[in-house]
């Protein structure tokens, strides 16, 4: 049904998808997995025409569709959902789906479109009331709407992008069943991208694993879960024991630095965190692990004040910071290295570091801090006049951490420092984290790369679907079945 060969996509110098080939057979459900930034969404975007491939061929039902305009591909029988639901809020639920029913099938009659909309809505279990507003839908409802829109285009092949993120357990199971039903009842072939492995592994016929834009494994779910390369990607290989004992020693008798109690937070109607409790003591390194979409980044944003929690308290050295604006939280000694580094690409390394020292108190110590950062990362000194955007990923991560350290923080928040980096570089980044630790700074680090992170932290929390599921020392966490299940679904 679908035959992809030699698919490549480059963005500037960055290769997001590198020479991927695969095929999907009629009536199959193919699971597509891989860590963040491994190229899953990019492949979806090429299959659906949102992006044109740099090279390679995509044969769908015998026709070459690579590079066609999206509406032609959709009309040709491929439907897709988006990772983050993108409903049309100015239209009612019914109109959203009817729109897809009308245009998605090459614009036949309106009556037929409405018929298709009713069928699709019934299929996913949304009301077929014509006037119901999108605004009333919660996270699960939006995901359903996304699916209904794709179904209304009467696809032969459905590209389902992370249909489960942000749902609770019951909703997840329901959604997984729905995908199965779609295949069984409508005979629609499905490619499914998902991070929640447990559910995915139960439903799919075959799994394909991507890492850094390349296919590293393919096969039956059970086989893939046991594939050492896959385990390496998700959990790391050298399972050497951590410095648990040292950590334990360090932990004792330290004053409390950061204290979260009953924190709830989200975006609009979407709740991302549920009653999160978390402690970080002075001098400690604490990790937060969990699959994509579990709420890790939201947690970081809540601490640094970018998002106001809807409930709960956050105390930094005993001071409640819930009502403090983000730019003032920095002066309390919290520095946040955001996900994907977020450097100012068109500024030099020097200027980026300068921004880190923008605060009044920090400006006075600008030169001293620069020394400290350059001591820690000599590479940055060499690159100081280079545009930040032109450096390698590892160097950029150095720069991002260096920028955060310019404000002379007490607590460093690191959000996925390894995301999107090559394995060798990931190694280097964790070396950096170790060095920072050694300098005595308190660190809270969020990571998908369980193995690596557990090597550098004293303690860790496992977060899943916005809730803390487990916590313990690094060694305890590594041995935990809960962690394994969360990652590999076994």
């Amino acid at each position: 049904m679908l035959e992809v060969s030699g698919l490549v996509k480059r963005f500037g110098g960055f290769t997001a998808v590198n020479n991927v080939s695969f095929r999907v057979d009629q009536g199959e459900i193919l699971g597509l997995i891989g860590p963040n930034g491994s190229g899953k969404s990019t492949i979806f975007n090429m299959l659906s025409g949102t992006l044109a491939p740099t090279s390679g061929s995509i044969l769908f039902a015998g026709y070459e569709i690579a590079g066609l305009a999206p509406h032609r591909i959709i009309n040709g029988g491929i439907g897709r959902t988006f990772q983050i639901p993108r409903p049309f809020r100015r239209l009612s639920i019914f109109e959203n789906v009817a729109l897809a029913g009308f245009y998605g099938q090459g614009r036949h009659s309106r009556a037929k479109a409405e018929e298709a909309a009713e069928r699709a809505l019934a299929m996913v279990g949304l009301p077929t009331d014509r006037h119901a507003s999108v605004d009333g839908l919660g996270a699960a409802g939006l995901k359903k709407l996304e699916l209904a829109k794709a179904l209304a285009t009467s696809p032969k092949l459905l590209l389902a992008d992370e249909s489960l993120g942000g749902l609770d357990e019951a909703e997840m199971d329901q959604a997984a069943d729905m995908l199965r039903n779609i295949r069984d009842e409508l005979g629609i072939t499905i490619i499914w991208v998902e991070h929640i492995m447990g559910v995915l592994m139960r439903v799919v016929d075959r799994v394909m694993v991507l890492d850094h834009g390349e296919k590293i494994s393919e096969g039956l779910p059970s086989a893939v879960a046991g594939d050492p390369r896959v385990i390496e990607v998700y959990l790391g290989t050298d399972a050497e024991t951590t410095q648990a004992a040292a950590a334990e020693a360090r932990r004792r008798g330290r004053p409390m630095m950061l204290e979260l109690r009953g924190v709830n937070a989200g975006y609009g109607t979407f709740q991302a965190l549920f009653d999160v409790n978390l402690d970080v003591k002075a001098g400690e390194a604490v990790g937060v692990i969990g699959p994509n979409g579990a709420g890790k980044t939201t947690l970081m944003r809540v601490i640094s004040g970018l998002i106001r929690p809807s409930r709960g308290s956050i105390k930094m050295e005993g001071v409640d910071v819930v009502a403090t604006p983000a730019h003032k939280i920095v002066s309390l000694g919290i520095a946040h290295v955001p996900e994907n580094r977020r450097l100012f690409p068109q500024l030099t390394v020097d200027d980026n570091l300068k921004m880190g020292a923008f605060m009044k108190d920090a400006r006075g110590h600008y030169t001293e801090r620069l020394e400290v950062v350059f001591d820690l990362f000599p590479r940055l000194k060499e690159r100081r006049h280079q545009m930040a955007g032109t450096m390698s990923g590892g160097e950029q991560q150095m720069c991002a951490i260096g920028r955060a350290m310019m404000s002379n923080p007490k607590l460093l928040l690191l959000d996925e420092p390894s995301a999107g980096l090559a394995p060798v570089v990931v190694q280097q980044v964790f070396e950096l984290v170790k060095r920072i630790r050694a300098s005595g700074l308190t660190v809270l680090i969020v990571e998908q790369n369980v193995q690596q992170v557990l090597k550098v932290v004293d303690r860790a929390y496992l977060i899943e679907a916005g809730t803390i599921r487990a916590s313990g020392t690094s060694a305890e966490m590594l041995a935990s079945d809960t962690v394994k299940e969360a990652y590999l679904g076994v």
């Binding site: 509406h71 990772q83 983050i84 049309f88 729109l99 897809a100 009308f102 998605g104 006037h131």
Partner: protein
């Protein structure tokens, strides 16, 4: 209101409007009414695309083409406006396609789209001025008085005829508005205005849909220009083309309310009456005050009543609308995490 009740209300309103000039004959007030109707039609034409986030400042250009091409064909070739108007509309439509296609193809949106269309109005204005040997330049242009058949020349001396013509044209605009509002094209355009990628993923040919509404809007605007010319029998580059006219359309549509069919009409009534009463009210005693008030009102409207007078009023009257439109003025989210 039920569908039937609504239809009845429209019917009664229309009958009253048609009957009006036969009952009330004050010529100056009729003159103002005719102007309001013609401009309402122009503003409605603009809002056809404006309501979908396609803010064009090029409509001054389309209007200018409608007026000038019609008048030029009449004066130089003796072509009746009955033929000249379709030709002028086609010319405006062609221009809209020439500029619109690359704009939509290359996804020029937001500020950039506004500024490209702004340049378009500028071009039309300057071309009219530069070809002064034919168009009379900035001094303006008068269609020749018909010597023969007035109907053929579309020139009438009495206000009632013009009032009825303007009413018909205006009604045509409202009907087209409703026709688009009920069509699938509206769904597609609303979707496009929110999220082009997602709309494409639902199978919508984004470029084609945008082009279609732009074409429709440009054709109607050109018609408005031609009618204005035939009524006033005098046009200048500044009154029917250029950036000022484009801005006037945008402002009036916003003041009245972009998202309801009668919004632009309400906008025309308010802006024209405001301008007239302020000018007459202040008269020669305090020159410049009328525009000052006008400007302050515009700023206040955009800040406090972005949905316009009629839009806000309807919201107030009908708190439970079928689809909440509270988000209509929210910025469309541009940044999306992770590519």
């Amino acid at each position: 209101m039920t569908g039937q009740g609504r239809l009845a209300a429209w019917g009664i309103g229309l009958a009253a409007l048609v009957a009006l000039p036969f009952v009330y004959r004050d010529p100056y007030h009729l003159h103002i009414l005719v102007l309001i109707l013609i401009w309402s039609f122009a503003y409605t034409s603009w809002s056809m695309m404006g309501r979908f986030g396609l803010v064009s400042l090029g409509h001054g250009g389309f209007m200018g083409i409608g007026a000038y091409v019609t008048a030029l064909l009449w004066n130089h070739l003796g072509l009746s406006p009955w033929i000249g108007i379709p030709i002028s509309m086609a010319a405006a439509g062609a221009l809209a396609m020439i500029v619109g296609y690359p704009c939509f193809r290359f996804r020029i949106t937001g500020h950039y789209f506004v500024l490209v269309t702004l340049a378009l109005s500028g071009i039309v204005l300057q071309v009219i001025t530069a070809t002064r040997d034919y168009t009379g330049g900035s001094l303006g242009y008068t269609p020749n008085r018909a010597t023969g058949n007035k109907l053929l020349a579309l020139q009438f001396d009495d206000k009632i005829t013009w009032y009825l013509i303007a009413l018909a044209v205006w009604l045509f605009g409202i009907v087209v508005w409703h026709w688009v509002d009920r069509s699938m094209a509206r769904y597609a355009l609303e979707a496009i205005s929110e999220d082009e990628d997602a709309a494409a993923a639902a199978g919508v040919d984004v470029t084609a849909e945008k082009l279609k509404i732009t074409l429709l809007s440009a054709l109607m605007t050109a018609l408005a220009g031609a009618i204005y010319c035939q009524y006033q029998m005098f046009i200048t580059p500044d009154t029917v083309s250029g950036i000022a006219v484009s801005l006037q359309m945008v402002f009036a549509a916003i003041v009245g309310g972009l998202f309801v069919s009668l919004g632009p009409t309400v906008g025309a009534i308010i802006t024209i009456l405001l301008a007239e009463t302020l000018r007459i009210g202040f008269g020669t005693k305090a020159v410049g005050w009328d525009n000052l008030v006008y400007g302050v009102l515009l700023v206040l409207f955009i800040i406090f009543l972005p949905k316009g007078i009629l839009g806000s009023l309807l919201d107030r009257l009908k708190p439970q609308r079928k689809v909440s439109r509270a988000h209509e003025q929210e910025a469309v989210q541009i940044a999306r995490p992770g590519a």
